[in-house]
Symmetry: C2
Subunit: 462 residues, 2 copies
């Protein structure tokens, strides 16, 4: 953990008050609220919390922080999972939640410009009447700025891509307070260095994203949901691989392992067969969705799928996916009072079944009860290890299991995180995954933020 940075808090506080008035808070409750995300990392409250309304205000605040060499951390909805917002060196938290305007929707260009504090569900609601939607869905109701900053993705990546593929341009404030626009509304560009993608996933360590333009998609005419159990994760992966090779444009393909199904049956009184289960979603026209279902049914029955069924009726769809929707609540209910150590890895799909099997074996050997849920088309899977607060031995066991899970993923050509990011939690794993690239990452960080004020201690330990 980093040391708390020393800077002239009073002078900085006075300066920021002049800019923000009563939108600068020093209240302990507000600071505590901003010192933690949804991970298990201990609270680390910032010294000040600034509620901003514009890019210009962010620029003014960062300029002051630069002058005082004070840390500055952007905060969206607080839904990150690796301690991204924890103010481990103190400093100023910039709360983006009041920058919540949808600036402009352009249906003819199928894009939308939003302030960074707009949340995913808010945008979905806003777009409802346009016939368009923004499909990136990480589960949590995160801000779009936060989703870009952590390179979020979720259940629809295979069909629509992650944030990386769906941000067209953004405005960011850099460590010196300068305002930089990156990318453009053109659908493609070869104009100079790709700064846009450098900022996406930089977790506030290179700049603070204040506005972004996103790709939109036509809402599908027809959506169908499906479910299919398999004898083994391997046969499920084989079916999914073949479906992808056959270019069946599946919108979602979610895996729940046996333990996840068992837990949700217990919690929600469902009677799903306790087997590795695939949850599917099809988007398209009536004809294409029917065709896609038929093709998937053929593939799955050839490869050991059992009882594939699908429906376009809203009620039936909800029923089919209920186990998936209740999965998190079921896990929580089975572990009352415990905190979840949530983690994810992503591997080449040919390694997915073995990777999950190895993880299951490791958990069993260490007496860990944790289900596996995954975005099987991407090779990305998640698990939550439940730990009683204060039980250091259990925490150590859980951390050890995560470490081995990540190391196995890296060993087979995968990555230490598919979509949660590095934050505090995976800095050492990043070095293991990218030993040769770390020097280059540090060079860039040092060049763009020489005093290390931007979310210090995250991604790279400087």
């Amino acid at each position: 953990m980093s040391e708390k940075r020393s800077f002239d808090l009073e002078a900085l506080s006075n300066k920021l008050s002049q800019i923000l008035g009563d939108r600068l808070s020093t209240a302990q409750a507000v600071r505590d609220q901003h010192g933690q995300d949804e991970s298990f990392y201990p609270l680390a409250a910032p010294d000040l919390v600034a509620f901003v309304h514009s890019t210009e205000e962010v620029s003014q605040i960062v300029t002051q922080c630069a002058e005082h060499k004070a840390p500055v951390i952007a905060f969206g909805a607080g839904t990150a999972l690796e301690g991204h917002v924890n103010a481990i060196s103190g400093g100023v938290c910039i709360d983006m939640s009041q920058m919540d305007k949808v600036v402009e929707v352009r249906p003819e260009d199928m894009d939308v410009t939003v302030q960074a504090g707009v949340k995913r569900r808010q945008l979905d609601e806003y777009l409802r009447d346009t016939g368009l939607h923004f499909p990136v869905d990480p589960g949590a109701d995160a801000t779009l700025g936060g989703m870009a900053a952590t390179s979020a993705s979720g259940t629809t990546t295979l069909r629509y891509g992650a944030m990386r593929e769906n941000v067209l341009s953004l405005t960011a404030v850099l460590a010196d307070g300068s305002i930089v626009k990156m990318g453009s509304r053109a659908r493609k560009s070869s104009a100079g260095y790709d700064l846009l993608h450098l900022l996406i996933g930089s977790e506030g360590t290179l700049g603070i994203i204040t506005e972004l333009t996103l790709r939109l998609y036509g809402r599908p005419e027809v959506e169908a949901s499906g479910i299919c159990a398999f004898d083994s994760v391997q046969s499920m992966v084989d079916a999914v691989t073949l479906a992808i090779q056959c270019e069946i444009p599946l919108a979602r393909m979610e895996l729940m392992d046996e333990l996840a199904i068992y837990a949700v049956n217990l919690y929600a009184k469902l009677d799903n067969e306790v087997a590795p289960t695939l949850f599917l979603e099809f988007h398209g026209t009536e004809a294409s969705v029917a065709d896609d279902q038929k093709r998937f049914a053929e593939i799955s029955s050839e490869l050991g799928g059992k009882g594939f069924r699908a429906s376009t009726s809203p009620e039936e769809r909800k029923k089919l996916w209920r186990a998936r929707h209740e999965a998190l609540y079921a896990a929580k209910a089975l572990n009352p009072g415990k905190k979840g150590l949530i983690t994810d890895v992503c591997v080449p799909i040919s390694k997915l079944a073995q990777s999950i099997a190895d993880t299951r074996k490791d958990f069993d050997e260490h007496g860990i009860l944790a289900a596996v849920i995954g975005h099987v088309g991407d090779g990305n899977y998640h698990t939550t290890l439940w730990v009683e607060p204060g039980d250091d031995a259990a925490l150590k066991t859980a951390k050890g299991a995560v470490e081995r899970m990540v190391e196995r993923a890296i060993a087979v050509g995968g990555t230490c995180t598919g979509e949660h990011g590095i934050g505090i939690g995976k800095r050492l794993f990043l070095q293991k995954e990218h030993p040769s690239a770390m020097v280059m990452m540090r060079t860039i960080k040092t060049a763009l933020d020489p005093d290390n004020i931007m979310n210090p201690g995250k991604i790279i330990e400087c």
Copy 2:
């Protein structure tokens, strides 16, 4: 233009000879061959040409160049269009063409690892029996390393994405000779800074790409080609926009304007109606392609399309697209002895029709005879202005027209280049398009290449 750099050529040459033996050339013919791409920029030969066989050799050469502060320029197939490979400061050209091994195809993961000198058609041939294909198609038979370095795309971007979306990982040699691996074979990752996309499109100014892993796609069961004339570019764009909003997954959508059709009719003795014409390609199953065609036919007839027809028969498909395939030859034949000043811009699709109309008007006012061809789904269009070598007045007129075309594109939220890159030719335009980002680009360039040896004078004038 940059000055020729001063360094100890003899000492460097001796060192490189020790590494490469007779794979280091000082022959004038070889040097001249490596001093120019397909653009009109004057030949600027490197001092030495190094034919490499491995990443390690590239590393050794760059290490020597770093020691001597000598420029180093990677050369693929020489098909770039903005003077990317011209050795305007002299130095060492690294010819990648002998690094032409397909390292490994992994059908189950739908990816392939290639050395950077593998060419697009060679890869296509190699993959023929696997049922997979790599769809990025810029027209020229470029090397895949070159395509990544220039962020190439082409006719299939709307469906499959550009290089940016299809490189999973790469190995590059940086300015200090270090070998860095970026990205991973996982389909998604949030692990640290996105160096992969920083290298893609960096045109050899940050590092030399030596190996890359690419996404592959299942070859479509059925491919159909189609053609449809329109009263105006605007009505064509309207039809295309609606088709995209309706999520018709078109694989290609190519625009030829009236002049392009006129030229090709004349050259190839065709009888296409002289009107803005859309060339389409559909990929999918028999059922989905039929459905897509039907839906497109409805849309186009509603929006003024005339005589839409399509076919899945190979002979008929060739016939339908013949005008598109002959377009470049037709333009060349109409301009014997002239050199083509080839350029491209990309605009939000809602601005495409007006942008093309403005360009046409500008050309007419300046007596320029140049057709427009475009990837209409992306808002990206190309034109070639033909100039008699030595006719400085005509060159000036042509350059002026390009300048205005680019400035209009930037003014409506577009980019100075959709897929050709910056090279020598568009450095000033890059500054106009990204005034605030240029400082950040320079900071990164200086941090990673402090002596400015990597393809100096390209993208950024240092």
